[in-house]
């Protein structure tokens, strides 16, 4: 890819230089001087395009081909899960890139640390950042917890308790007293309101490494080798057992919609509408 970029640069630069050289070699009076200016301006345009190819080369071909306001750089999926289930794969040109996510289970808080522990923790972070010669990315991610299943369980429990309450009210004898059932119903309602009322967040720390290859398995093997090195270094520095994220759990680190559960969004939208109406 890098070589292709250089060829584009050289090609455009050569066109610009050729135009200027032709202009210089044509004797004065052969063409109108105003045309000379136009040719020079066009040569500079190509020169500018040549320089722009350093960072914007990826746009040249799609822009020229499509000539639309919405330019499709790629119509492929951004990634797909590897058959091994432990990484995601991305293809660019002929090269595959496999990325592995390593979860770092750090459950400590600064409020629980003494001064020396805080210093030690900062030192550990500094050590972990400079542990690898290959690029490695460390991420602290905060996302909204998906409480849908938990809320469903509470809702079911409320249903059961209310059913019992109704039975007691209609005179049916149950194994629990009326007061106890009422208390239970009130408790579960209160818990449901509290939990569903606010969004809960979770903080996850993870590292990610990539490997490249001309075949899928080559890229996966390269990434796996790097992840093994990273895991052993992270484990020895923090003293925790890092683990590779597999399967659907990977989506939380890649897909934006997994950062906020759908139920939270619908609640937020309803709240916004209510605020606008009232």
């Amino acid at each position: 890819m890098e070589n292709a970029g250089i060829f584009v640069f050289i090609g455009l630069l050569m066109i610009a230089i050729f135009m200027v050289l032709v202009e210089i070699t044509i004797p004065q009076g052969v063409i109108d001087p105003s045309y000379r200016l136009v040719i020079l301006a066009v040569a500079f345009f190509f020169d500018l395009m040549a320089f722009s190819s350093r960072f914007y080369g990826y746009l040249f071909l799609p822009v020229l081909k499509q000539r639309k306001r919405h330019i499709v750089l790629s119509n492929e999926d951004a990634y797909w899960l590897s058959t091994t289930g432990d990484s995601i794969l991305h293809k660019e040109g002929d090269m595959f890139t496999s990325t592995i996510y390593i979860k770092i289970p750090l459950y400590i808080s600064a409020t629980e640390m003494g001064e020396t522990e805080k210093m030690e923790f900062t030192r550990q972070c500094a050590r972990v950042v400079c542990m690898s010669h290959d690029p490695i990315r460390f991420t602290s991610q905060m996302n909204v917890m998906n409480k849908d299943d938990y809320l469903k369980t509470i809702r079911d429990t409320i249903g059961e308790v209310e059913n019992k309450e109704a039975l007691i009210a209609s005179g049916v004898k149950t194994d629990e007293s009326e007061d106890r059932v009422k208390g239970k119903a009130s408790m579960w309602h209160h818990m449901f309101d509290r939990i569903s009322g606010t969004a809960s967040f979770e903080m996850i720390t993870y590292a990610s490494v990539s490997g490249k290859g001309s075949k899928e398995f080559e890229a996966i093997s390269a990434a796996q080798a790097r992840s093994r090195d990273a895991m052993s270094a992270i484990g020895s520095i923090f003293g925790v057992p890092p683990s590779i994220v597999t399967g659907e759990a990977l989506l939380k680190f890649v897909e934006p919609e997994y950062l906020i559960p759908y139920s939270t969004i619908s609640e937020q939208i309803t709240k916004q509408i209510r605020e606008q109406v009232s």
């Binding site: 500079f44 040549a50 999926d77 990315r137 991420t139 602290s140 969004a199 969004i265």
Partner: protein, 277 residues
């Protein structure tokens, strides 16, 4: 500016030199002024694309209403400031902020005073910043350790060059105190870096950025929410003493690609960004 960009810039300037050397062949009078104007504009545009492309590129795409599709289901907005994904009628806008530590790590002649205290409060400051936020975000630190000997050799080379400049300046009659102080400061900065390496501090290339995602029922709503979130992040993360800037333009596209594939070599990492060392 990295070496490759410098090479591109140098070679692109060749055309200016050719025109300047053959200025006479373009004719005099008003056409001569025209040639000068085109040359000046050429240089200005080249400099703009070198140092201010993050302004020029979004300006152009915004002006012409150009959007990009980096991969299926994703769209980069015309302002080049966010990547949008549409999932079942909901829009997820993702934006990025740089979070560079340049401010006090790389411009100082020596490690700043009170560094131990700063390290001690860092975990607490981080937790305070996180607790003040109520939306999802990701704080990324991408690093690559550098070869100690190579970095040391480079620094020694730079120091020798600065010392040579200084000895020349001392012999010159036009040298002012300001020039001498500036050269001395450069030498001190390089020496401070060398001292830190001598104290077993490992040199690393580092790229730090923050990513956040906002949701909306329309593109505009998602982008408005994203802007609000990015503002909140800038305020909250300000306590960490990092230089925060919103990422727009080509770097947004590169960071978007990092979500699925990371660079595998230092060269690949450094070719797209102004990396911290």
């Amino acid at each position: 500016m990295d070496d490759t960009t410098m090479m591109y810039f140098g070679m692109s300037m060749v055309i200016i030199f050719i025109v300047a050397a053959n200025f006479g062949t373009f004719g005099g009078g008003i056409y001569g002024y025209g040639v000068i104007l085109i040359c000046i504009l050429g240089v200005v545009f080249l400099l703009m694309m070198t140092f201010a492309d993050f302004i020029v590129f979004p300006l152009m795409t915004g002006l012409f209403g150009i959007t990009f599709q980096p991969s299926r289901n994703y769209k980069i907005t015309r302002g080049q400031e966010a990547v949008i994904k549409n999932v079942n009628g909901l829009y997820y806008a993702t934006g990025y902020l740089t979070a560079n530590l340049f401010a006090h790590t790389f411009k100082a002649e020596a490690a700043p005073e009170g560094e131990d205290e700063r390290r001690m409060v860092a975990p607490e400051n981080w937790e305070k910043a996180v607790m003040s936020l109520d939306f999802p975000f990701k704080f990324h630190v991408m690093s690559s350790a550098l070869d100690v000997q190579q970095v040391r050799d480079e620094l020694e080379g730079k120091r020798s060059y600065q010392e040579f400049q200084m000895s020349r300046a001392m012999q010159s009659k036009n040298t002012t105190e300001v020039i001498m102080a500036d050269l001395q400061r450069n030498i001190n900065v390089i020496q401070a870096k060398m001292d830190r390496i001598s104290q077993e501090e490992k040199p690393i290339a580092n790229l730090m950025y923050i990513e956040t995602t906002a949701v909306g029922v329309s593109e505009k709503a998602a982008l408005d929410n994203l802007s609000a979130q990015l503002k909140q992040l800038s305020i909250a993360m300000g306590v960490l003493d990092v230089q925060i800037l919103r990422v727009v333009g080509r770097e947004l596209y590169t960071l978007f690609k990092f979500s699925f594939a990371l660079p595998t070599t230092y060269e690949e990492l450094s070719s797209n960004f102004d990396i911290q060392q």
